[in-house]
């Protein structure tokens, strides 16, 4: 739900509650006011009747509609103002012939030595009429307010939130690898300015940290190469001496193997960062089919050694616009992978058509989750001395070339699908 819609919804809800409570208050005020006015009118009439009676008129002549005059045969306790009593009653309406709510007032006054009790009636506005009135007025007001609120909040927020939306847009486009910190416009809203400032600082820091980290790992993998070359060279020279027995040899071998592993690791990591840095940027039209066939010639011997039966189905003249080195690495790593995780006497299927490359091999199911397969150093226990970078490199190449890569496992077959589109 949009922020605007949400706030509007709550505003309408609150307005509804306020209007409901307001209608009760309004109703009571109206009722009181009407009663008060009616009472005032009745009192006025009372006095005017008494005045008329005082100027020698007999009560009978005044006996009329909505007035009743009784002569008391006792002396009342209260007279005049003090004897006024108001209450609500129902009286038959003279013309409408139905019962109507009335206000009744009784008062006693001494007129010409006799005590008269006057009872006066007046129609008052019925409470449900007031209710109707209040309700009618309020729902119109509510509707009007609602419409105005929605329209104005839409217009205002569109204006107010403009910088916010712009910020959002830029954040969406932010790419940590582009090393370009976000520059945001200043707005008239203090909070947005604070936010933008914070975002600018944050993205700058993120960029800086990323760059530092990248430079560090690049430098590190680069700097280790010289000492590794030295160590390797020393071992190679040591190997040439004649007084080595098997025990010494095996020690040299394991040292040599470890150094080789580190140096491979270093160059693989360097390769990844080179791919990331787009150093393989000279693109050429490459006949991928030929490249794949050529690689398969090299690998054929390897398959034969493991007695793997390969079914190869390569369409001719599949062309790709890419860097030849990258595609070679891609093919090499995928074929190595299909071979390494295959079993003795297993099978291998390679299919290529203009839109995709499918490589499937038999093998044991993965011990790690398929999502981790393309991550660095996520390797299966079965893969022994491998670096765990081969598929990460493949993924990187696919990413920068705009290919998608998918992995699936089904009934003993590992399938990797590279989609060129």
């Amino acid at each position: 739900m949009r922020l605007l819609l949400r706030t509007s919804f709550y505003y309408v809800l609150i307005t509804f509650v306020v209007f409901s409570l307001g209608s009760i208050i309004l109703y009571n005020i109206f009722l009181n006011e009407i009663q008060y006015e009616t009472d005032l009118y009745l009192v006025e009439r009372f006095h005017s009747i008494i005045n008329t009676l005082g100027s020698n008129n007999t009560p009978n002549t005044l006996d009329q509609y909505k007035l009743q005059i009784d002569t008391l045969d006792y002396v009342p306790e209260k007279v005049g103002q003090e004897s006024f009593v108001f209450n609500d009653t129902i009286v038959m309406h003279q013309y409408l012939r139905r019962m109507e709510n009335n206000r009744k007032m009784t008062g006693i006054q001494k007129v010409n030595e006799s005590y008269l009790r006057l009872t006066l009636f007046d129609v008052i506005v019925e409470s449900d009429d007031i209710m109707d009135g209040v309700f009618n007025a309020l729902w119109r007001l509510f509707l009007f307010l609602g419409i105005v609120m929605v329209i104005t909040s839409f217009l205002i927020s569109r204006n107010i939130f403009k910088p916010f939306n712009k910020t959002l847009q830029q954040l969406k486009q932010f790419n940590i690898k582009e090393l370009r910190p976000i520059k945001l416009e200043r707005s008239h809203t203090h909070e947005f300015n604070l936010m933008n400032q914070f975002i600018e600082q944050m993205t700058e820091k993120v960029n800086r940290d990323y760059r530092n980290l990248k430079e560090f790992s690049e430098n590190a993998s680069h700097e280790i190469q010289t000492p590794l070359t030295i160590a390797k060279g020393k071992l190679e020279l040591l190997l040439q001496s004649n007084d080595l027995d098997e025990k010494k040899m095996s020690m040299i071998e394991s040292a040599y193997k470890s150094i080789d592993h580190i140096s491979k690791l270093g160059s693989s990591l360097t390769l990844i960062s080179k791919i990331e840095n787009l150093e393989f940027s000279d693109l050429k039209q490459i006949v991928f089919s030929d490249l794949l066939k050529k690689a398969l010639v090299d690998f054929e011997e390897l398959y034969q050694m493991k007695q793997i039966k390969a079914e190869i189905n390569i369409m001719d003249d599949v062309k790709l616009q890419n860097n030849p080195d990258l595609l070679k690495i891609l093919i090499n790593n995928l074929l190595t992978n299909a071979l390494r995780h295959n079993q003795e006497g297993g099978r291998l299927k390679i299919e290529l058509d203009p839109s995709q490359l499918k490589i499937a091999n038999t093998g044991k199911p993965l011990q790690i989750s398929p999502e981790q397969l393309f991550e660095r150093f996520k390797k299966d226990k079965q893969s022994g001395g491998s670096l765990g970078l081969g598929l990460a490199i493949v993924k990187k190449i696919c990413d920068i070339s705009g290919y998608t890569i998918q992995y699936s496992y089904n009934e003993g077959w590992h399938r990797i699908l590279v989609d060129f589109s």
């Binding site: 590794l228 030295i230 071998e253 491979k264 011997e301």
Partner: protein, 248 residues
């Protein structure tokens, strides 16, 4: 003092082969690495000198003639690329092999454009370095007669043919490269890793190629033995192989 072409023909009772000695200048700022290179190359019978800075390198190439320069790109007081430029000004025929930890394509292309003959990225195997030096040497100095003789074995590099007792033996491309690699590093223990890298380059994971190396060596041995040649290849426990020159 021009020691450019210096050939030694060493002929023993049952073997005759060309033994080429070269005068090599190693320009490398890391003394340990330079020491490795110099030791290995001297053991192969070359004359080897070492300098560690750009200035020293310029001094040397101006004053003396070398057949081969092994050049690090990143020097404390300058770029190895400038050494190549200076070298070309001298109008010498010295070959240049660049060694650099900077595995950058730009440097490689720039270096080769300036006239370097090859490019090797650190870390490298000494046997690989030696093979590259030999390859450059053969390319430059032995123009038409690129032939290597070793006892009953005869390799023609140009036609990529292999003869045992003058009978042609069919070798695959990899087997041929392997044999050539052995012959340029005779009497030395060559590790499986360096063979794998020599044959398949950097991008193939060495882990997988060891079995492959073994298989190729087995095939090569079989082919030489079938042609009644001698088995010169020894397996060095776990580590690699050695192409033995029999003692006379």
């Amino acid at each position: 003092m021009d020691l450019r072409f210096l050939f030694c023909f060493k002929i023993s009772s049952e073997s005759h082969f060309i033994f080429a000695m070269m005068k090599i200048l190693v320009v490398e700022d890391n003394p340990e690495l330079a020491n490795n290179i110099v030791t290995y190359l001297k053991e192969e019978g070359n004359v080897c000198e070492w300098v560690s800075t750009y200035m020293e390198a310029i001094d040397k190439i101006v004053s003396f003639g070398y057949e081969m320069l092994i050049l690090d790109i990143m020097l404390p007081d300058g770029s190895g690329l400038d050494v190549i430029r200076e070298l070309k000004k001298q109008n010498t025929e010295a070959s240049v092999l660049i060694i650099s930890a900077k595995n950058s394509l730009d440097d490689k292309i720039l270096g080769l454009n300036l006239g370097a003959d090859d490019y090797l990225t650190k870390p490298f195997h000494l046997s690989e370095l030696h093979a590259r030096i030999k390859a450059i040497y053969r390319r430059k100095n032995l123009h038409g007669k690129q032939e290597i003789l070793f006892n009953e074995l005869k390799i023609n590099i140009e036609n990529r043919t292999f003869l045992v007792y003058d009978n042609p033996v069919e070798l695959t491309q990899k087997e041929f490269d392997l044999l050539l690699f052995f012959l340029t590093n005779k009497n030395r223990v060559i590790t499986k890793q360096s063979i794998a890298e020599h044959l398949w380059g950097d991008y193939v994971d060495a882990y997988d190629s060891f079995d492959f190396v073994y298989q190729h060596i087995k095939n090569l041995r079989k082919k030489i033995l079938n042609a009644r040649g001698e088995d010169y290849i020894r397996t060095v426990y776990g580590l690699g192989y050695k192409f033995m020159v029999p003692h006379s």
